[in-house]
Symmetry: C2
Subunit: 473 residues, 2 copies
């Protein structure tokens, strides 16, 4: 009789081991010391005495999902910045400068809550101020792959074609904030928190500061999380300043390597995306957000073809409106099928790998999480199959579970989440927080923020002003 | 003091009256005799004595959603037929001939349940056998706009280029089934059930039978629900048989008029779609299903530009994998933004209108349902705003509720549904049925159906065979 911490029984396990989905049945999963110890045939479980037995009848067990790129700081402005060309100018701009630290932090917690409730166990969050997020992640028990946003381009109104003005004092302050965050939080919360470096984008950060940040990241053996060639605005800035496109600029700067997580690549050609992949960098793609705010499908498929790892991300809720990896799995498949007019492009299993093992590898946590393998941390979720969206279940001649997870599940089917072998969500409720209190806290802010934003909202006069006048909101 | 059946209080009503979303607040909705009687200012509600008061704090009230086109008969095969080019041949074919009436009916009920739980109150279902669906709809209390599928093309294996063989006996039998269904069920269930005529498609039905069906439909003052130019296979058949494209064939046959609901238009040019709209026909578009099985975005936008009404549909769960109008609202906006690379295309409010008033008009129920207006039947739903996916709520300088309904809500936020003034779903549970029993009943069939399909599944050897071998399902 072997004593272990936890024994998990379920009819279906998708371990994501190997090149496929690592399907197993007729087994139980043994968790010990926060790690996955082994899978044992059901007929041998009598050999184990577990402190906790999770009997997940009519559930499927998956690795906890990975959100490779999100800005929870925008959640306080959920749904205020879509359906507009020029998202930055006509969408988010009126709300960008009126936020308070308190309102942003209150919104961020609800963004993380939404994400966790939909099965995400590793949060790739990326804001200017991150201490509150770190504390929340520590408390809730999930994993954070967290980045502090750094820029030295002054925030002010620029004329079309005008180069952004770099400011040393701003750059020094923001860089120092990232360094301090690293010192305070890296490897804290039992190793669940990793701190990355976050130069915002090549147009918002001077070449000097980009290199300084890179040096600091390499000394600390952590990754750089950078928006890359995210639109024609960036391409235009870099072309004017350096006479080349952003990908080439970053290549020449020595930025494209295995320590880089390159986000979006919205304005990259397939060839540029492949160049970035071939240098060993990874990518975070945010299909819902970029589809909604730009009407575009980013070149993640070309990136994968060149051998690169790609994580999925939910980005931000001002313009994607939600943080839900089930949504993003559906988006990445549907949007690529449409881009290439080919239903065989990006089948369901590939999206599930992106949301788990490929995502984990892309953000540098491939040895720790993203699959259910002996020796890895026990990060997993249980998805209820006994709901209309997942019914019926076929196992022969083909299983329909993975397609239904990707194309039908909504996120609410996730009933249980475990991180580092500890239950952090049960029966769909996150245990360490009062969900209603978090939402109530956020609801204190919309009235005052709305009033503060109204002058600029009407001055900028984007589509949403017209929609309000025309009774369309 | 006026005695009424029901008084509905909520902070936000989207009535869909007028050209926008018909937003109202500070009012209560009075329901009497199954109909919406009026909206009254909250300060006047003391004048009413209601048998039932629905106090929907932190909820938004919408018209019940309209699913304009669905085949619940495919739900027993949910998730078995995607990620394959040639959906009919390599996706659904192995499962097409092994179903039983019992298994199809058991699956259909769960499809309808899924749809209702996600806020649909009018179901545009379209199968060969419909009696069981009619009974279910009568029992549950929702509205059905129901069609019986009719064809006279023999179901057999055709060689490439071979014309389908029409068979009089088959056509007579199937047409009679539709006539009988009409006699048994049209205007039954307190008028909640309407029966339409369902010639399957121009390639599957001879011109003679098409005309016979049209005559019968016009005599009975009901609509025709027809798949139109749904792929290159259909276009090829019609070109060979009649020397013209399907839209032109239907135009010359006199089929394009205000009594036609034209489905898909997958292979139509924008010009052909506009021709159909200009003749007064309406359209049902199924963005999720056609995106998934064909990788295409159908020309619903051109149809709308020409003045046509377009309903959204969830189509079928073998290849769309779900019946959820929140999903389809998101799909129609995202996919059109991508098709046209323009984030201003198809803003949120337009999708909400398609799922409500425009959908109701498209399927011929615009005078009965689809908006909350005095004199219309009281079909409405309450969506909880006190959930992370709908938080925070801004009301000034813009409301973010409609964008969050379309881009973030998953369907589970719907807590209450009322049809004809009667509560049919409360706290997310459909009242007249045992949801678990319905799912349990469906689960009896996958094992035997899977065994029966396996020989053809392996013979046809589509992508899913390889995915099973490669551990990708």
């Amino acid at each position: 009789m072997k004593r272990v911490d936890m024994l998990v029984k379920a009819p279906h396990f998708y371990t994501m081991q190997g090149e496929g989905v690592g399907y197993k049945s007729g087994v139980a999963m043994i968790v010990n010391g926060g790690k996955i110890e082994e899978f044992v045939p059901l007929e041998q479980i009598e050999d184990y005495k577990a402190d906790e037995i999770l009997d997940m009848d009519h559930h499927v067990i998956l690795p906890g999902l990975i959100d490779g790129h999100m800005h929870s700081c925008y959640n306080i402005f959920r749904g205020l910045a879509q359906d507009a060309n020029g998202w930055m100018m006509y969408g988010i701009q009126p709300f960008n400068n009126i936020e308070t630290r308190e309102s942003v932090d209150a919104g961020a917690k609800v963004a993380l809550l939404e994400s966790i409730k939909a099965g995400t166990t590793t949060l790739g969050d990326y804001n200017t101020y991150m201490d509150d997020v770190c504390q929340f992640i520590e408390k809730v028990g999930v994993r954070g792959n967290l980045t502090c946003m750094v820029r030295d381009a002054l925030k002010k109104t620029y004329q079309p074609g005008e180069l952004y003005e770099f400011n040393d004092a701003l750059g020094t302050e923001e860089f120092q904030r990232n360094l301090d965050l690293f010192d305070r939080w890296h490897n804290k919360a039992n190793g669940r928190i990793k701190i990355l470096f976050g130069p915002q984008a090549a147009d918002f950060v001077s070449a000097e500061l980009l290199l300084k940040i890179q040096k600091a990241a390499k000394e600390r053996k952590t990754k750089i999380h950078l928006h890359v060639q995210q639109g024609d605005r960036e391409t235009d800035q870099i072309m004017r300043r350096y006479g080349k496109r952003p990908t080439k600029f970053l290549e020449d700067l020595g930025y494209l390597d295995q320590d880089l997580i390159a986000v979006h690549l919205t304005d990259c050609t397939d060839e540029e995306a492949m160049t970035i992949a071939r240098h060993g960098a990874s990518m975070a793609v945010n299909p819902g957000c970029i589809g909604l705010v730009d009407g575009l499908v980013c070149p993640s498929l070309a990136f994968q073809k060149a051998g690169g790892n790609v994580a999925l991300g939910s980005d931000q809720a001002a313009g994607n409106n939600c943080h839900n990896m089930f949504n993003e799995m559906k988006n990445i498949t549907m949007m690529n099928k449409i881009r290439y007019q080919d239903p065989e492009i990006m089948p369901a299993w590939r999206a599930l790998r992106m949301a788990t093992i490929e995502g984990a590898r892309a953000i540098g946590l491939g040895d720790i999480t993203g699959s259910l393998e002996p020796g890895k941390q026990a990060d997993f979720i249980a998805v209820d199959l006994n709901v209309p969206s997942m019914q019926p279940v076929f196992t022969y001649p083909m299983r329909n579970i993975v397609p239904n997870l990707v194309y039908s599940a909504r996120g609410n089917e996730v009933r249980l989440s475990v991180v580092d072998g500890k239950i952090i969500m049960k029966d769909g409720k996150v245990l360490a927080v009062d969900e209603d209190e978090l939402m109530k806290d956020m609801q204190k802010y919309p009235d005052e923020l709305g009033k503060a934003a109204s002058k600029e909202f009407f001055e900028i006069n984007g589509p949403n002003v017209r929609f309000m006048e025309e009774d369309k909101l």
